[in-house]
């Protein structure tokens, strides 16, 4: 390997090990001595994505793509960047372009599947992961996504525990696991979402988002939140209906059984207060005590 090649490898390994400071230092030295080297630009983009410095990532990628518009690595990084910044339409176009040029590349199918999972197109994600597995049965990302689809579809028994393991053991799984959490949460399957989040948290304990999400999910999955299910599940509609029922029942009670009216009123008021005060109190308590 040449000197430049070695330097690239060192920087790539530093980024992989989350030693962003060391990587940045080596990289800026490298770039100042070899400003036109496309490899360093891609590494700078990788570093930008890893450290959420998306502007630098984009600048470097655009410069690299201006030199070599067909470079697959640059295009793949662009896809990752677009996913990170929530530009899913552009991301989809990029990955379709890549699949057009590399129709046999299982990893690109898996990446596409991951994007579909992220945007809650579960069926499409499943189909793409299947295609990825057909092209390369050992593709770990495709395997992870299939398993995640299984979890979401509630097909495999004990899947969320397997998923937690997978997240701990497979670097690819981490990115995708977040999507699964979102899906599970949107389906009110809090206990499973909690399990997946635990896996995420254990593998990246220094991620503040993971901690916050974990606590939030623990609150949602706590048994004392059960009475609030209608509010959680149906949102404003739920509380509107509840309100209407309350007013109606108090009205009817007043009419036909006035002796229970006051208990009813107290009950409803209690419920309102409970729904208001309990979740934040529970959150405090759980995050102070741990779980």
């Amino acid at each position: 390997m040449t000197d430049v090649g070695l330097l690239r490898q060192q920087i790539a390994l530093l980024i992989e090990r989350k030693r962003y400071g060391d990587a940045g230092r080596l990289l800026s030295e490298a770039i100042s001595s070899e400003p036109e080297d496309p490899g360093f630009k891609l590494l700078a983009a990788r570093l930008g994505i890893a450290t959420a410095d998306y502007r630098s990532a984009r600048d470097n990628l655009e410069a690299a793509l201006a030199q070599h518009p067909d470079n697959a690595e640059a295009r793949q990084l662009m896809f990752e960047l677009l996913c990170e910044t929530g530009q899913f339409v552009e991301a989809e176009q990029t990955i379709i372009g890549l699949l057009h040029d590399y129709p046999e590349e299982a990893y690109f199918y898996a990446l596409y599947a991951a994007l579909m999972l992220k945007t809650l197109h579960i069926d499409k994600a499943a189909a793409l992961a299947r295609e990825g597995l057909r092209l390369d049965p050992t593709s770990s990302l495709s395997q992870v996504i299939s398993l995640m689809v299984d979890v979401i579809e509630d097909r495999s028994h004990d899947a969320s525990r397997r998923l937690e393991e997978l997240v701990r053991e497979n670097p690819d799984a981490l990115h995708v696991a977040w999507s699964v959490v979102l899906v599970l949460q949107s389906r009110h399957r809090y206990a499973e979402a909690l399990q997946v989040l635990r896996g995420i948290f254990r593998s990246v304990p220094d991620d503040k988002e993971a901690v916050a999400a974990l606590i939030e999910m623990r609150v949602l999955s706590h048994w004392s939140m059960l009475p609030l299910t209608p509010l959680q599940r149906y949102g404003w509609v739920g509380s509107g209906v509840l309100w209407a029922v309350a007013v109606l029942s108090v009205f009817l009670a007043d009419r036909f059984a006035p002796q229970i009216t006051s208990s009813l009123v107290v009950f409803y008021l209690g419920y309102v207060v409970y729904s208001w005060l309990w979740p934040p109190m529970l959150k405090r308590w759980l995050s102070a005590r741990g779980f």
Binding site: L13, R17, R19, D22, F201, S203, P205, D206, L214, G290
Partner: protein, 410 residues
């Protein structure tokens, strides 16, 4: 005046500010012929008492014994500036023929770098001893009992069927003295210290990492008794589950092989490692026989911080500093943070002088203001550790941290 070196070391362990004990300790080391260690203590004494001649004179005498006359003359000259200086006949005679300090070229770089240049025979080189580490009393006791004594007296431990093998992992927030402690351990074991730092790791990545790693272990075996210290272990043994590259896998596998292979040949080779990110270290590294003992190196407590302020401000013009107060108000600051605070305070003074033109010394207020504007760099680490303990599920690997967090009320 009749204490042994060990007793004096104990006294200093309890109270590092006891300058009289330190002077006696330095004298005792000098008398015992350990001039290098004596010199280190005299130098510390000079920092603690920069206006007293005794420290400089002791340093000068040690340097004479170590045959560095030029340096000895510099120390002697410093002593002459002190208020309580009295001419010393023995030193006057010893230094009469030495080269004048002005002629001394300080650039000691001309020493040819031999193959073993990175291997430092601790007992003869710049030493860090347990007494030089401020605070950490319990930790030092544990390390002495569990690491150093078994290393020095393997026979005794074998008699009680106690296994001496296995590595020791130091972990904790950045800048709190892990590297320092590792050096001190090597020194207390009186062993060759082989330090594998991040730059060695980087160069190890060039070409076949496995071979380079193996070479490190071979070197350690060839230089027994030795301490092989992997600083920043997470860089070298990054969790295989978090890194895709084959490179990581093969390096970690080789590392595990070497650690396991050591079992038969590890006599007189102590393996130490340090990391800020124990959660990124491959879990297989922590299995029995490998780094099965880990020690949490906490941030310095208030007294240790006070002492660090004192040591780091020697030679800076200051005015009536209350070190204890400084230590108390800089909660959670690490050794490296204290450097930062002092630099910031100096900047304030210099900015004032530039603006107002009036010369003034560094005051307590400058330091307190710098402390107020300062976010301790250990906080992120401590929060992460707290979260792991609280929300990570049943995992006993961080119980030391848990105990510390309880006392730190974080």
């Amino acid at each position: 005046m009749s204490e042994t070196i060990e007793e004096l070391a104990e006294i200093l362990l309890r109270d590092p500010f006891d300058t009289q004990a330190r002077a006696r300790y330095a004298d005792a080391l000098y008398e015992a012929g350990d001039w290098q260690a004596g010199l280190e203590q005299y130098r510390l004494l000079c920092r603690q008492e920069p206006t007293a001649a005794a420290g400089f004179l002791g340093a000068a005498r040690s340097l004479v014994k170590l045959e560095d006359l030029a340096a000895a003359r510099i120390e002697y000259d410093k002593a002459t500036d002190c208020g309580d200086f009295e001419p010393q006949d023995d030193l006057e005679i010893a230094l009469k023929d030495g080269p004048a300090p002005a002629l001394r070229v300080v650039g000691g770089r001309a020493v040819p770098r031999s193959e073993d240049a990175d291997i430092v025979r601790i007992s003869s080189a710049r030493t860090t001893r347990f007494v030089d580490i401020v605070g950490m009393e319990d930790l030092k006791k544990t390390v002495r009992l569990r690491i150093i004594d078994p290393f020095l007296k393997p026979g005794l431990f074998a008699k009680f069927k106690k296994r001496a093998g296995g590595g020791l992992l130091l972990y904790g927030p950045p800048g709190c003295g892990k590297t320092l402690l590792a050096r001190a351990i090597a020194n207390e074991c009186d062993a060759t210290f082989i330090h594998v730092g991040i730059s060695d790791v980087l160069s190890m990545w060039i070409g076949a990492s496995e071979q380079n790693l193996r070479a490190m272990f071979d070197k350690a075996r060839a230089h027994r008794p030795s301490v092989l210290f992997f600083d920043e272990l997470d860089a070298l043994a990054y969790s295989r589950s978090k890194a895709q590259s084959d490179h990581t896998r093969s390096t970690v596998n080789e590392f595990l092989n070497q650690l396991d292979g050591m079992a038969g040949e590890n006599e007189q080779v102590l393996i130490l490692a340090a990391t800020n990110m124990p959660w990124d270290v491959d879990p297989a590294m922590k299995r029995p026989g490998r780094f099965d003992r880990s020690i949490f190196v906490p941030p310095p407590d208030a007294a240790a911080r006070a002492e660090m302020f004192r040591a780091k401000l020697v030679g800076v013009p200051t005015k009536r500093l209350d070190y204890q107060k400084l230590g108390e108000s800089s909660a959670y600051a690490s050794g490296a943070d204290i450097d930062g605070i002092i630099e910031e305070a100096k900047d304030r003074v210099l900015a004032d002088i530039m603006e107002g033109g009036e010369d003034r010394a560094l005051t307590q207020d400058d330091l307190l203001a710098a402390i107020r504007d300062f976010e301790p760099s250990t906080m992120d680490w401590l929060r992460t550790a707290r979260n792991l303990v609280k929300y990570g599920g049943a995992d006993k690997s961080y119980k030391d941290v848990e105990a510390y967090l309880k006392t730190a009320r974080l």
